[in-house]
């Protein structure tokens, strides 16, 4: 029983990481109908950049973990703007329906290669900012960092939601997501909103990177599988549902940790992907996906 609880708690932490990255997929999809398939690499770059600041790989540490986070967020936002300007805007401009798919994948591969050349191909440990002695909750032992992941992920999503609801700029982002033409008539520069959503998307991935790095390893290839699974979570939960990605992320996270323990770690990726196939077959808009209300 303790073991199961432990697996669930670890699964939740993993799931929250998926949710944060999936949140990034949602944010660009909402405003522009496009996705950054290099989200996994944005996560990896965030973690690597964070490690370079807070670890000793580049002659550091220069900053402690907490001061490193804002720097990583800015770095992530900037990286997202580059992806949008180089990979997505030209495709939108020429009305190429699928050009952005290839260009965001290509940029992701380029980022991975660059990272391999800067930091090498080997995985490196990321210093944990808080104690790595497990806590005991009802007999299950949990890493404090795993709880921090849950708190950090929720905090980020709550802050973005508050921004969207309470500020005129956030309202403008939501308006752009629901009707780009009408948003333009309000005086909202919708192209800038799309750039912003790419910045936000990569920023959340980079944040996920430095949250998860202390409990896994950091390396140039860490993002590929995470990015793909977060995409699965975005599909399972629904590309337009905030609740969906949290529930979907947690489902997938727990499915992985329990399968890894009870069956075999070799199969840990299978249940999530089976879930993805089931959702696509039965409810393609996602578990919580909704079709927009439209009245004529």
């Amino acid at each position: 029983m303790e073991i199961l609880l432990q697996l669930i708690l670890s699964g939740v932490a993993l799931g929250m990481i998926y949710a944060v990255v999936a949140f990034g997929y949602q944010s660009t999809f909402a405003t522009s109908g496009t996705l950054n398939f290099g989200q996994g690499e944005a996560l990896m770059l965030g973690a690597m950049f964070g490690l370079s600041l807070a670890g000793d790989v580049m002659g550091g540490p220069y900053l402690n973990y907490w001061l490193m986070i804002p720097a990583v967020l800015i770095f992530g936002a900037f990286q997202g703007m580059v992806v949008e300007a180089v990979g997505v805007r030209p495709a939108i401009k020429t009305k190429s329906e699928f050009g952005w798919i290839m260009s965001t994948i290509a940029l992701g591969i380029i980022f991975r290669n660059v990272a391999e050349n800067i930091w090498g191909k080997d995985d490196m440990p990321f210093p944990s900012p808080i104690s790595s002695t497990p806590l005991h909750i009802f007999g299950a032992s949990v890493l404090p960092m795993e709880l921090m992941v849950d708190v950090g992920a929720l905090l980020m999503m709550v802050l973005v939601e508050l921004f969207n609801r309470k500020t005129i700029y956030g309202k403008a982002v939501v308006a752009t997501a629901s009707d780009r033409d009408a948003a333009g008539l309000m005086g909202i520069n919708t192209r800038m909103v799309i750039t912003f959503s790419y910045a936000l998307s990569s920023m959340s991935a980079a944040f996920a990177g430095v949250l998860i790095a202390p409990i896994t390893l950091t390396g140039a290839s860490m993002g590929a599988v995470l990015g793909l699974k977060a995409f699965a979570v975005a599909i399972i939960g629904g590309l337009n549902s905030g609740m969906g990605i949290i529930v979907g992320g947690i489902l997938l996270g727990i499915a992985e940790t329990t399968t890894g323990f009870y069956l075999s770690t070799g199969y840990k990726d299978v249940p999530g992907l089976v879930l993805l196939l089931l959702v696509l077959a039965i409810k393609p808009s996602g578990l919580f996906g909704k079709t927009a209300i439209k009245k004529v």
Partner: protein, 242 residues
């Protein structure tokens, strides 16, 4: 105030507007009438920047705005309540109205801020139905209420010129009367308006000047009173019904 000169626009290879010229003087209501597919909505869209005109000029307060993106045109004081209302369904009525004032509330928005909260009050006075429901999501409103919201939202820009595209489309007759009653009140407040309407008779009754469009061209134009008595216009657009 607003002057359109030789405006041309195309959808792909098909030219839909041929040398449209019209003038909306300050404080006046000008209406654009004509049958479905004549190009009325396209004209409005080309003026507000929702589509890029192929050539021609749109002069707003002395500045040529033809070809600018819609958000820059909005900043210069042109509000457009578009065909099909296009309210933001997932946001509250209050949020929709605040978004209407985006150019006044955001940094570098371009419009003088003025007193947004008293304008909000005035808009809600004009549409009491919206006041009762200000926290409700716009997507849950009826078609008529959404139309009121689209008009109120456009007014929140505190516009130099207001474009109203088919405000009565799809509304029950009683609501059509209400919409025209409100247009009359806006006229009394001195708001400069360009009105596209299917109910030609009602539109000419409220307007100072009218343009009749046919196949992407201006066929006839003149003071609204004259058009009301023009036998050709009467036969084609005012015969029977409204």
């Amino acid at each position: 105030m607003l002057e359109v000169r030789n405006l041309k626009a195309s959808y792909g290879q098909v030219q839909v507007l041929h040398d449209i010229s019209l003038t909306v003087p300050k404080g006046k209501v000008v209406t654009l009438i004509g049958s479905n597919g004549a190009g009325k909505t396209t004209t409005m869209r080309a003026i507000s920047g929702m589509i890029k005109p192929a050539s021609g000029q749109v002069v707003l307060s002395g500045k040529n705005i033809a070809g600018l993106p819609s958000h820059r045109i909005a900043k210069l004081g042109l509000a457009h309540s578009p065909e099909g209302r296009k309210v933001f369904p997932t946001q509250s009525i209050m949020d929709n109205l605040l978004l209407g004032a985006f150019t006044r509330l955001s940094m570098g928005g371009g419009r003088p801020k003025g007193d947004v909260s008293s304008d909000l009050d005035r808009a809600l006075d004009l549409f009491p139905r919206l006041r009762e429901r200000q926290h409700q999501l716009a997507g849950t409103l009826s078609g008529g209420e959404q139309q009121m919201l689209a008009m109120a939202r456009a007014l929140m820009l505190n516009p130099e010129v207001l474009l109203l595209d088919e405000p009565s489309l799809g509304l029950a007759p009683i609501l059509v009367d209400e919409v025209f009653h409100i247009i009359n009140r806006l006229k009394e407040q001195g708001i400069t308006m360009l009105l596209v309407e299917q109910f030609a008779a009602a539109a000419l009754a409220v307007a100072d000047y009218g343009y009749v469009m046919e196949n992407g061209k201006i066929a006839v134009h003149g003071p609204a009173k004259d058009l009301q008595n023009d036998p050709k216009v009467v036969a084609a657009y005012l015969g029977g019904g409204h």
